[in-house]
Amino acid sequence: MTNAYDAIILGAGPAGLTAGIYLARAKKKVVIIDEGIAGGQMILSHTVANYPGVLEATGAGIARTMVKQAKSFGCEVVTQSRLLKIDLGSLQKTVDVEFEGTYSAPVVIIATGGIPRSLGLETEAKFKGHGISYCATCDGEFFTGREIVAVGGGNSALEEAVSLSRYASKVTVIHEFDHFQAQPWIVADAEANPKIEFLMNQKIEAFAGDEKLEGVVSVDKDSGQRVTTKAEGCFVFIGYTPATQAFEGILKLNGRKEIVTDENLATSIPGVFAAGDSRAKKYRQITTAVADGTVAALSAIEYLDKGSRIPQIKLAASAG
């Protein structure tokens, strides 16, 4: 059975939810579909203090309010449902969703955001919940007085390493490069912390242990020297990749696999728009995602109301 809508929004993060709010307020029939939970990466933020109009809130709290707001205008929100097939080739686009059936609409807004990068090691799944964690706020206290590892060199990794040092007896930051990507003041905070040590230029090879994690095995990328760092916990913060795999060969992507759009967030296919972290752009904040959602929705409304009278979008060939 096909469920017909005016717009299908793929992704229920701040970009997708905002697009849904704008489209539904414009009386369009909208479904927002997410393979995970509504809120996207926003729910990982324990404290959001730079969202205008909100003094301080949790990312999860803002997400819940956005979902309520979207639903209040009539948006249907489908979560934790895998996208099986996406066909953007026709005027009426279709999306097959596990357990839910087929959705069709003349407009699709892609707001699939980013996927947390994992180390891709066989033993990573084995120790999830038994030593390996992705959330310092959630699980930090389980490692009180223990030695742990934080993997990564960006803002999240170093901020979380500092946060984890409140619980752990020692935090070893293992990073794949010989320099950090984090902002200088965040690096300075971490370097000034007496509980934090650094192991740079390392490729993590394996996790050691039987029932519980006991150590992290890494190898120096230059010398090839293998090191086992004693650790009962390992927190992984190695960034995100755009969730655009399903659109490779279909939409124009840049070298980082981000969707290329014009200033109205139209993609290389008429009726398909992109918003948020899945598209090519420099700054990635909740506020910029919300702005993207707004622009994509307004462009989509114009497309729906004017249809083929909108000129074909032309994208620069050398995006990248």
């Binding site: 979560t79 934790q80 038994h130 030593g131 959330c135 959630c138 519980k212």
Partner: protein
């Protein structure tokens, strides 16, 4: 109390009552964090699809959580949420940290025949 649409267990009495009145019970004990929210979301999604299972949440930081924290099955757990499946009052499965819809569905099918 957790800010979810699930029924909450807030006292030992309530915990015992839920276990005695329901053959199949799934309890997710956690916080309002990024590892816990997806599991609550799955449970909310599944409530109407699995009428033979009682879905409940429990705040990890409330005193009642000792009924989950002290189970032998959760002693090695080091990641929230602690999710425990009971059949006729006995633990039949327990998981630590985030689980997705397919993983929960598999356990419900395997342990509860749901």
């Amino acid at each position: 109390m957790l800010d979810t649409n699930l029924k909450h267990i807030e006292t030992d009495t309530e915990f015992n009552r839920v276990l005695s009145e329901n053959e199949n019970v799934m309890i997710c004990c956690g916080r309002m964090g990024p590892m816990c929210l997806p599991v609550y979301d799955v449970m909310e999604n599944f409530e109407s699809k699995y009428p033979n299972v009682a879905f409940r949440d429990m705040a990890f930081d409330e005193p009642v959580s000792h009924v989950i924290r002290e189970l032998p099955e959760t002693q090695s757990f080091m990641g929230l949420p602690f999710t425990v499946y009971f059949k006729n009052g006995k633990v039949v499965k327990a998981t630590s940290s985030i689980q997705n819809k397919a993983q929960v569905a598999e356990i419900l099918s395997d342990k509860f025949g749901a």
